[in-house]
């Protein structure tokens, strides 16, 4: 691995595994795509796991809390994420809860740990849209009230637009475009972003076929030369196929495309 990753001023790529486990959870916290399967311990109750989270936080911050105080905080936080009947849920095991509830338990754990950065990897794909709306609104609220930064990983551009201030579009392991959500959606700079936006169905089939990006994403074992999107790009010209463009600033955004210099 090359380069470095700085999280609030600390280069985490040089930390040892021991030091990292101190940073994980309280500095940054990750929510995964399929919470019922891999985010909670299936043989411990929800209550046990949430109490564990809070005692880890106290240990790191050198705080002392009684069992009673800890439990009160857990119950209060569960109300924040709108888990119905917190006292009953505390006694349950993860498999007794629905997917949406488990996801909210995981978010609740994140709130108890109070991380500065929350990384959410497609946290709503396993949920239905009505529950997705609840989770997204909750995340927005937390971002505003607790000043918690969020990296939200998704394939749904409209969801990204609703949630984010800034959108980064990636393709074949590279950042293709990075800019304020409003600009990126209204005036996409990269042909890939433009293609993605155009291929979202908005009408019915009688309005004619959808625009679609030809071909399929490249395999990492045989990446094309030059710009990685060039074989599928409709504006492709000479330079694109031989030389890979660099990520350059363009207004308040940055973009990796020869069309934009």
């Amino acid at each position: 691995m090359d380069g470095k990753i700085e999280v609030s001023g600390i280069d985490i790529s040089k930390k040892s595994e021991d030091e990292m486990s101190n940073i994980r959870g309280t500095t940054m916290f990750m929510i995964f795509q399929n919470p019922p399967l891999n985010s909670l311990n299936p043989v411990k109750t929800v209550g046990f796991q949430l109490m564990e989270a809070i005692s880890i936080r106290n240990q790191r911050n050198g705080e002392n809390m009684t069992e009673e105080q800890m439990k009160n905080e857990v119950v209060e936080t569960m109300k924040v994420v709108r888990l119905p009947d917190p006292e009953r849920i505390l006694e349950r095991y993860p498999h007794e809860l629905s997917g949406g509830q488990v996801q909210r338990v995981v978010i609740c754990m994140a709130l108890l740990l109070k991380p500065r950065l929350l990384i959410a990897d497609e946290p709503t794909t396993a949920l239905d849209v009505t529950i997705q709306a609840q989770v997204v609104n909750l995340l927005k609220e937390l971002n505003q009230t607790r000043k918690m930064s969020i990296i939200f990983i998704t394939h749904d551009l409209s969801l990204a637009y609703v949630l984010a201030d800034r959108i980064v579009v990636m393709y074949a392991g590279r950042i293709m475009e990075d800019g304020p959500a409003e600009d990126l959606i209204r005036k996409p700079l990269h042909p890939y972003t433009e293609g993605l936006l155009m291929s979202i169905p908005t009408n019915d089939k009688n309005a004619g076929p959808l625009y679609s990006i030809p071909g399929s994403p490249p395999s990492f074992f045989s990446l094309p030369k030059g710009c990685k999107f060039s074989p599928r790009c409709r504006y492709v010209f000479g330079k694109c196929e031989t030389e890979e463009p660099r990520l350059v600033n363009y207004g308040s955004s940055s973009v990796r495309c020869w069309l934009r210099g």
């Binding site: 239905d128 997204v136 749904d156 551009l157 291929s199 679609s212 399929s216």
Partner: protein, 323 residues
């Protein structure tokens, strides 16, 4: 109007766990998961019907019953006006086909593409037919015939799965979330392909999806399912323009769009458990319009050609779009 499929009071219950000897001895009642409960539905030949709803609402079970992979626990399933049972099951099976969500797990990784596609023909390898369907889904027969699935991309494997489903010229095709496992940039290609194939083969589609935008694009009629029940059923355009059932209204307003950065967040509550669902309307614990009568099973009302299972529209108290 030529009905190809009709469900009357259809039920599908799964056993929640295997009954043990002790359960039999003590005559404990078996516990059922009510995946589909009392569903009435008819599908017109040559139409595209989308089935929308969240995971666990019975969409896939419906597809499996249509393709006879599952036998209904109760009620009747008519295919072309004839009840599907006994020896007719075999015949229906020849005339319906299904495409699954995840292309990588629905084809045999060890088989060559040409063998995968010709498998439904039952041992008889008809090269012309295989080549023809593969070309019609946009693959070059000479390029792919001897390849194995791992040499193809996800979108290409899904095309192979579609070719396999079409090879016997089915009258009805069940597509179970056929685009959700694919890359976003490939989804539009697949949707165009489905529309084209439907014109070419004049096959009836049952398109299972949770994506409202996709349902809007592809379907003529729409079925909204929730916790094993059909809540609303009728023309896609009418339902999307003026959803009647409170759940459909909620569903449509929770879809994120580029128009607004605000997302309407529904009232709390959760989907009821299918093991022992509360009596009456299954949505009543989350419904903003819940009333006393909702603890009784809602009858089906018809408004402007759309069928709605909600007490709001029963008798004279129809409310025009309470939003």
């Amino acid at each position: 109007m030529d009905e190809i499929i009709k469900f009357v009071g259809l039920k599908k219950y799964y056993m929640a766990y295997q009954r043990q000897l002790l359960d039999v001895i003590f005559r404990r009642k078996p516990v059922y998961v009510r995946a589909l409960d009392d569903v009435n539905l008819s599908i017109v030949r040559g139409s595209v019907t989308s089935v929308v709803g969240e995971s666990g609402s019975g969409k896939t079970t419906m597809g499996k019953i249509i393709t006879t992979m599952e036998k209904p626990t109760g009620g009747t399933y008519y295919f072309e006006g004839k009840e599907v049972r006994g020896s007719y099951v075999e015949e229906v099976r020849k005339r319906v086909s299904m495409v699954f969500q995840n292309p990588a797990t629905s084809v045999n990784p060890r088989m060559k593409i040409k063998a995968i596609v010709s498998e439904p023909l039952g041992g008889r390898f008809d090269e012309n037919r295989v080549a023809e369907v593969l070309e019609s889904v946009g693959l070059r027969y000479s390029d792919v015939k001897d390849k194995q699935p791992r040499e193809l991309s996800g979108g290409q494997i899904q095309r192979v799965a579609i070719a396999r489903a079409l090879v016997k010229n089915p009258e009805l095709l069940v597509l179970d979330e056929p685009t959700s496992a694919l890359d976003e940039s490939v989804q539009a290609q697949m949707l165009n392909l489905f529309v084209e194939l439907q014109k070419q083969y004049s096959v009836t589609y049952v398109f299972i999806t949770h994506n409202i935008a996709v349902a809007k694009y592809i379907s003529d009629t729409m079925v909204v399912t929730y916790a094993g029940k059909v809540f609303e059923y009728g023309s896609t355009e009418k339902i999307l323009n003026s959803p009647k059932h409170p759940y459909t209204q909620l569903l449509i307003s929770s879809v994120p769009s580029f128009e607004s950065k605000k997302l309407r967040s529904p009232t709390g509550g959760d989907v009821p458990s299918l093991i022992d669902p509360p009596p009456g309307c299954r949505f009543k614990n989350r419904c903003p319009f819940a009333m006393e009568t909702c603890s009784k099973e809602p009858p089906i009302a018809e408004i402007n050609g759309v069928k709605v299972a909600c007490w709001l529209y029963v008798g004279g108290n129809a409310v025009e779009n309470p939003n």
